[in-house]
Amino acid sequence: MNFSAFEHLDTLVFYLVSLVILVCAVMMLNFRKVIYMVLAMGGVFVGCAVLFLLLGADFVGIAQVMIYAGAITILMMFAIMLTNHEAVEPEARWSLQKAFSAIGAVVLGAVLLLVIRSTHWVVGDGRHINHGYANPVAIGLDLFREYTIPFELVSLLLLVSLVGAVLIARERKED
């Protein structure tokens, strides 16, 4: 490998972080304890956030940490710690179903790879790859000017699910 590839430290960091993400992802699949899996998944989320930062998408990166690594992982930990479950997952065994899913996964991977290879990517200098849309002001303007209706729809959806969750919780309590 050419050392000049590391002249840009960004590249070095990119490879390091990618390695971390991949290792975390593999570990997540291999761990037998659920809580370890969640932790490894948190590692993947944080790694992705660093990738966003490397791409200059500060806001997205931070939001990734906040929502995925912060809120969602914690929620999963809560669920695991508060519920009764086997601490250790049973050993995986091969079955027909699993074989099919393995084939499906391989096919999906191949398709994704093909699509990625066939796309023409805009190559920037690592700073302005998404034309400055990383900053919160730009995102806010875009959201409220160009995508107002989808944004509001999404909000509505979230609200509905929130109310639904409250309703379900309340019904249980009355039992």
Binding site: M81, L82, T83, N84
Partner: protein, 408 residues
């Protein structure tokens, strides 16, 4: 304790004592047997019980009390106090001790109110042998007993607030208490286990200037009480934590034999200094403050009010302190005529009584101590049942027990 981990079948603090309670409750903590159709039902997961072991080494059990708490979610299903970690067999020891020799053992019962313990024993023996106590001795006794009551109540307030998370009142209370302890130290040479009283009087007369110092102490302490009132009673967080918590009524209290502040907090005007007058309490004017709701706040506030009344008594004692001997004409070896005697006095925590079965010798045939903390503690499981776990400490603290007395 908002979030109680349902379904943790882990038991990190095992029962050291291997008590039946632990064994009885243990299966409940193991969780339910698997359902026939596979996983447990949803409701089963939600309602699984948890066994929580509070104590005997826990900062808020005031000694070596252990509470085995079975909780369902946040609600306490059952709390079982396990006692006896400090059991020294005082009653058995006393059977082999002469009456005077028992006095230092009483110091170690309710070690926050040793003077009153001393008195309760001496008073019972004096009643039994019909012994006259000199006036000055009786005045000194009342004086130190009321000071002791203040010291004990101060410690209650400090420790209670510490239980509720406020750190400063504890240290403040210790400063005030220190002054009383210093005064005791000067009159009897000890700071905690005084062994000051004797059958027929007290061991030492007040040293020179001591009474004057007590006289100075009274107004100073009054100021401090006002400070406590301002500092604690109005605190919103404190009120929210103690109001309406741990409520019981007079009927329950009487059924359980509750005495002292715990009984008075329910509105019952019951103070042995008035209801079964002993010593010279009938000569003094003082009120018996009572609560209204029987909750933790009432119990806290009554302690404050009682200190005020104790100060009133001290003032009157000082005003009429007579001269004279401090120890009556007591035989060398005290022999109590055969018979049974019971005398109860108003201790710092309730009715402290000594029941003596005498066989005419110099040692009691049987000595039973009616321990207020022991009796009051019985109500705790009732108070805790159905309560949320977060109130556990607030309720336990307000019952005000001393483990030295509970376990005797």
């Amino acid at each position: 304790m908002a979030l109680i981990p349902n379904g943790t079948d882990r038991e990190p603090m095992r029962s050291e004592k291997g008590s039946a309670a632990a064994q009885n409750s243990a299966p409940a903590a193991q969780g339910h047997a698997p359902m026939p159709y596979g996983g447990p039902a949803v409701d089963d997961i939600r309602m699984e019980e948890m066994l929580l072991n509070v104590g005997p080494q826990h900062p808020s059990t005031h000694g070596v009390l252990r509470l085995l708490v079975r909780a369902r979610g946040e609600t306490i299903v059952e709390a079982d106090p396990v006692i006896g970690y400090l059991h020294r067999g005082t009653e058995k020891l006393a059977e082999n001790l002469q009456y005077t020799q028992i006095i230092p053992y009483t110091d170690r019962l309710d070690y926050l109110a040793s003077m009153i313990n001393n008195y309760a024993l001496c008073h019972t023996v004096e009643t039994a042998i019909d012994l006259e106590v000199p006036e000055r001795a009786e005045h000194l006794r009342v004086l130190v007993m009321e000071m002791q009551r203040i010291a004990s109540h101060l410690l209650f307030i400090g420790a209670y607030l510490l239980d509720l998370g406020a750190m400063s009142p504890f240290l403040y209370a210790f400063q005030e208490r220190e002054r009383i302890v210093q005064l005791f130290n000067r009159i009897c040479g000890a700071r905690l286990t005084y062994n000051y009283m004797r059958i027929g009087g007290v061991k030492y007369d007040a040293p020179e200037g001591w009474l004057d110092d007590v006289r100075d102490f009274v107004p100073w302490m009054k100021g401090k009480l006002e400070m406590y009132d301002r500092l604690i009673t109005g605190n919103e967080i404190f009120l929210n934590r103690v109001r309406g918590i741990g409520v019981f009524d007079t009927k329950t209290a009487l059924a359980y034999g509750i005495s002292g502040v715990n009984l008075r907090s329910t509105g019952m005007r019951w103070d042995l200094r008035r209801n079964r007058p002993y010593s010279i309490y009938d000569r003094f004017e003082f009120d018996i403050p009572v609560g209204q709701h029987g909750d933790c706040f009432d119990r806290y506030y009554l302690h404050l009010l009682e200190m005020e009344q104790s100060l009133r008594i001290i003032e009157q004692v000082l005003a009429q302190m007579p001269d004279g001997p401090v120890l009556g004409k007591v035989p060398k070896i005290i022999r109590v005529p055969a018979g049974e005697y019971y005398c109860g006095v108003e201790g710092a925590r309730g009715e402290l009584g000594f029941y003596i079965v005498a066989d005419g010798k110099d040692k009691p045939y049987r000595l039973k101590i009616r321990k207020p903390s022991f009796v009051n503690l019985q109500l705790l499981p009732e108070l805790l049942r159905g309560q949320s776990l977060s109130n556990l400490i607030a309720i336990l603290g307000a019952v005000d027990i001393v483990l030295g007395e509970v376990d005797a």
